[in-house]
Symmetry: C2
Amino acid sequence: MAESVPRIVIVGGGFGGLAAAKALKNAPAQILLIDRTNHHLFQPLLYQVATSVLTPGQIGSPIRNILREQQNTTVILGEVSGVDKDKQCVVVSSADRAAVPVPYDFLVLATGVTHSYFGHDEFKRFAPGLKNLADAVAIRNRILQAFEQAEAEEDPSRHRDLLTFVLVGAGPTGVEMASAIAVLVRNTLKSEFRRINPESARIVLLDMAPRVLGSFSEDLSEAAKKRLEKLGVEVRLGHGADQIDAGGVMVAGERISSKTVIWTAGVAPSPAGKWLNVNTDRAGRVRIQQDLSVPEHPEIFVVGDTASLDQDGKPLPGVAQVAIQQGRYAGKLIHRRITGKTIPVPFRYFDKGNMAVVGPGFAVLQSGKIHISGILAWFAWAAVHLQFLATSSLRISVFLQWVWTYLTGQRGSRLIVNHCGAERAKPAVEEGPRTSEMLLPQ
Amino acid sequence: MAESVPRIVIVGGGFGGLAAAKALKNAPAQILLIDRTNHHLFQPLLYQVATSVLTPGQIGSPIRNILREQQNTTVILGEVSGVDKDKQCVVVSSADRAAVPVPYDFLVLATGVTHSYFGHDEFKRFAPGLKNLADAVAIRNRILQAFEQAEAEEDPSRHRDLLTFVLVGAGPTGVEMASAIAVLVRNTLKSEFRRINPESARIVLLDMAPRVLGSFSEDLSEAAKKRLEKLGVEVRLGHGADQIDAGGVMVAGERISSKTVIWTAGVAPSPAGKWLNVNTDRAGRVRIQQDLSVPEHPEIFVVGDTASLDQDGKPLPGVAQVAIQQGRYAGKLIHRRITGKTIPVPFRYFDKGNMAVVGPGFAVLQSGKIHISGILAWFAWAAVHLQFLATSSLRISVFLQWVWTYLTGQRGSRLIVNHCGAERAKPAVEEGPRTSEMLLPQ
């Protein structure tokens, strides 16, 4: 390729970054996509990995595999730590190398969000959040480990805490995970334990908001809540978690004892705003213009969850569809600009609708004036999610897994793998040996 | 169940322990199976997880799921740290609890092996071994990471070390892994990189023995070696690794620079011999009698890789078939003893044959006087391995994956997931910023 070809750097291989790269497929440019993992993650199904339905490999595909036929694009595993707007370069570190500046002519930042503890970072130790595959595997380990500990525990009075699961935050992730845990205990784990009854597990879904799925209409929130309760989930609204520690959660003066608390509440944007040193909204997302560029920097675009853009007086939501449409727009705009074509009309988000699943065969769907809940919405949910998986092999694999799980109740991967060597059995000091007669079935 | 029913404790949920538990299916007994993981691992395919062909979930099944219909059996996740032969109990620790003694009337130890560095434990840091799923995922991360680092590395002189893979030990694991890496670089990764050619990777298979697959006949060793060389693997025999460090391996005075060295050489038995304080062979395996019990302790059985038993003047090999047949025998013997039936004839291993795979569509098979190599042996290998997977869903899943990989070259899971937060990019200190022009495709 000639030296004169423009250099386009895309940071992030999520929905936004990948859409931008694909939109530049035929552009006469050198495209460099940088991500700190080697895979594009299908985040909407991450809760299914955390609850053992799918394996990590079913929702993650190597980015370079997805883009292997796009010859103008190089994929790099690396961590971006800053942007120099004046010199037009991003600072990239990768394994065991010093940070190097990488020059760009156009920059697309699609760096997403991480989970946020709203200023309570001390909760993190006790209530892990769910944003990447390592998080999902860690949460899967914790949920399955709780049942294992209860089964190994000869004192029935200690079963209660171990079999109580608290989800803090009743947005889509909290609702989907709560219902998936409810089905896990009722179907999958049935008849596998001898000393405990997994069905006796208590699953509590908390939110300070007055309803679940706050981004949906009230009738759908109500339908979801009813369904959750039917599945055995205890829904507690109007109060958040005041305190989270090793023993459980404090809510409105009441203590819920639990060994497994999961944070499904909030997200915070990536540091893109700090790197660029530009205007952000209150949450820290970069305020972008109608063409998705940063004010005074027509060569820098910010897309997806880490960007802030109003449409019809309301901020766009942090969902995959916004990221995909914005990434695609930014890619097309850059392509047109470098080929001297007319610039497209300002970006406009087309809302295809919003869905959340509540257990097998039940979802809520809101699209314009259409509000439906139940099996039809679930089929729509399944079809859309399969369609948006990155490769056809994943589509087949996830589809077969869902059919299998539906028919047999068996899940894709219920492994507990201790990857770090630290979690393993650390016996607590206790007063003298205890009798262990109860360790054997009576 | 009545208190008077005998208590049988089985330690280990591998091939031996699981076979013992299943053989006791209808026994009037309380059976407790203890394992330090929650899953039965199909070790013969572990190298396929390490080389991205299969996902961890395809070769690991929860032990309690396999035994869910066996009502007389309780499965416990716990770590055994000792045996008290006089008081007839094993000492078990499980997560956050003090060690407790668990009483038994019969004990089956099926605690397997771990990898051994033959007294060179300092090699461990630089050359990870392969025994469990966490090992396999760590090795997968390292192999894939090497290609990522090379692609991110702008200095071509540093590509050589990153693209050199050394396997220390040319037994079945070393041979199978070397051929799987060779196929990975030639088929799967083809056309995904822009700055490096994965096909240029150097794969070195070392062994101090004069031939590969020393447990097979000489003609099959020779056939495997030829096949490895055809796949592009450099086979170096007659010298082991004298030294392994961060920069590579020293072999017979020559330095092979490599960032990825994998230990596929030796195994050491579990501490069962120390727990029992009984006679062991030189390797540390417990010397057992013809009925698989420990001398003077007819209630204690040791089976599988951690046991030492001669047959026709030769020690039995440490393979899955021996463990399965021994486990089954021990289970049956205990069942007969507690129901007052006659004791079976002494244990005798029936050798069904030995197989190793060398790349797609090629295996070596030795069974009695039958020695074959090639595609027929591969079909036998595939059929046997599918047959011995723990559940029918895994059989289907692994079969479909193999067909898919064969047809498309695509593998099951090429994720790099940093589970422990420590491996991530630690930039080395370097002298000033380097130019990064080469970071973009030329």
